[in-house]
């Protein structure tokens, strides 16, 4: 399941009037994050609750395995808080799950 991606070819032009294209992303938001959610796929039962509760929509099911778009994850921690299996932990440092 693909997530929207950043337009790398954006020229910086402005349209005539405030008529913009839909889903036009020019920057990611990983810099907002202090902690990053890490899914333990051994515990995860793919119930999809984390996908439902994520305000950013960055959690998704990739071939029956939950995955996270870290480009746009702000690390709010709702997924970890709500996971009934405690399969998600909030971890420090961005090297943990690259």
């Amino acid at each position: 399941m693909s997530r929207p991606t950043v337009k790398t070819d954006f020229s910086g032009e402005i349209p005539k009037g405030t008529y913009g294209p839909a889903m036009h992303l020019t920057e990611t938001l990983e810099g907002w994050r202090n902690l990053r959610p890490v899914i333990n796929n051994n515990i995860c039962n793919n119930c999809g609750l984390c996908y439902l509760v994520c305000p950013e929509g960055v959690i998704f099911d990739e071939k029956n395995k939950m995955d996270i778009d870290y480009g746009f994850c702000k690390g709010c921690g709702i997924c970890a808080r709500e996971c009934r299996k405690n399969a998600i932990t909030m971890e420090k440092g961005d090297a943990a799950n690259e």
């Binding site: 439902l52 305000p55 950013e56 709702i78």
Partner: protein, 292 residues
């Protein structure tokens, strides 16, 4: 439930605070409504975080309306869709509590009166959060906002929440409901109903704001759930002229514990909490007499 949702994300890359309840409400509704949707957002958190050119975060047609004009623009879009034979589309608005219960109420009333086929979703975070937490008419009693600063003389907001659900139902609207991000399956069902309503529909969703409420960003969904459990929020519907309480909570959890988890209520005294309990009991009595 999961299968009924559109797999695409239609609200993505927005600059809402981490753990924002409002953005979750918007995201989920759009996953119910799907790609053939026109969205109107007034000035407020969701427009401020979703539309800063060049970062445009809606995957469907969307625009920002003047603050007071959510419902009027929705109506205009629906009228145009009708006259241009653009059938099978959803026209949905997402406005905050201030944008709905204060400045946007006139336009909302007009749209319901016309019976326009639009969906109006109020994401209620109980204050003007986008401008830095000022009181709205949906700010609960006792809450600290920057315009209801608690002190020795006044303990936060002295107003109670306007009952938007009742106000809207009094128009004999086709479909109205209260919802909460603390109960997502219920919310999804209600958005589906709204989608299939042939006339105006209104959903009032409790959507906590971690920043304004003074809670951890991970607690948004949990605190919304707790509000239902302690009886300060309720899930109900108004359909075919009848009220229905969706969840009759038999025994309430502690209001004191719910309130004290939130920075905005930290200052409340025991008497204040008792007053809020009293208000809850009156509200529940009113609902039960009327809805069940």
């Amino acid at each position: 439930m999961l299968k009924r949702l559109d797999k695409e994300e239609y609200f993505y890359g927005h600059k809402g605070c981490g753990g924002c309840g409002g953005s979750l409400a918007v995201r989920l509704a759009l996953k119910v409504l799907g790609k053939d949707t026109f969205v109107v957002l007034p000035a407020g958190c969701m427009s401020a975080v979703g539309f800063v050119y060049p970062q445009l975060c809606f995957g469907v047609n969307a625009l920002i309306s003047p603050f007071a004009s959510t419902a009027a623009m929705l109506s205009g879009i629906r009228a145009a869709a009708k006259s241009l034979n653009i059938e099978n589309c959803n026209v949905v608005g997402f406005a905050g509590d201030g944008g709905t219960a204060d400045i946007g109420l006139q336009a909302l009333s007009g749209a319901i009166d016309r019976g326009d086929k639009i969906i109006y979703i109020c994401y209620d975070n109980e204050a003007y959060m986008n401008t830095g937490v000022q009181q709205s008419s949906l700010t609960p009693y006792g809450a600290r906002t920057t315009t209801t600063p608690p002190g020795e003389h006044i303990h936060g907001s002295i107003n109670s929440k306007k009952n938007m659900f009742e106000i809207v139902a009094a128009h004999h609207i086709k479909y109205a409901a209260t919802a909460s991000i603390g109960n997502i399956p219920d919310y999804i069902k209600k958005v589906e109903k709204a989608k299939n309503t042939n006339g105006t529909s209104y959903i009032h969703i409790a959507a906590p704001c971690p920043t304004g409420w003074g809670i951890d960003s991970s607690e948004t969904v949990a605190i919304a759930r707790e509000a239902i459990e302690c009886g300060l929020w309720y899930l109900a519907e108004y359909e075919d002229g009848k009220y229905k309480l969706n969840k009759d909570v038999k025994e309430f959890t502690s209001i004191g514990i719910y309130l004290k988890k939130q920075g905005r209520f930290k200052h409340l005294t025991e008497e204040d909490i008792q007053e809020i309990e009293k208000q809850r009991d009156n509200q529940i009595k009113f609902i039960k007499e009327r809805y069940i």
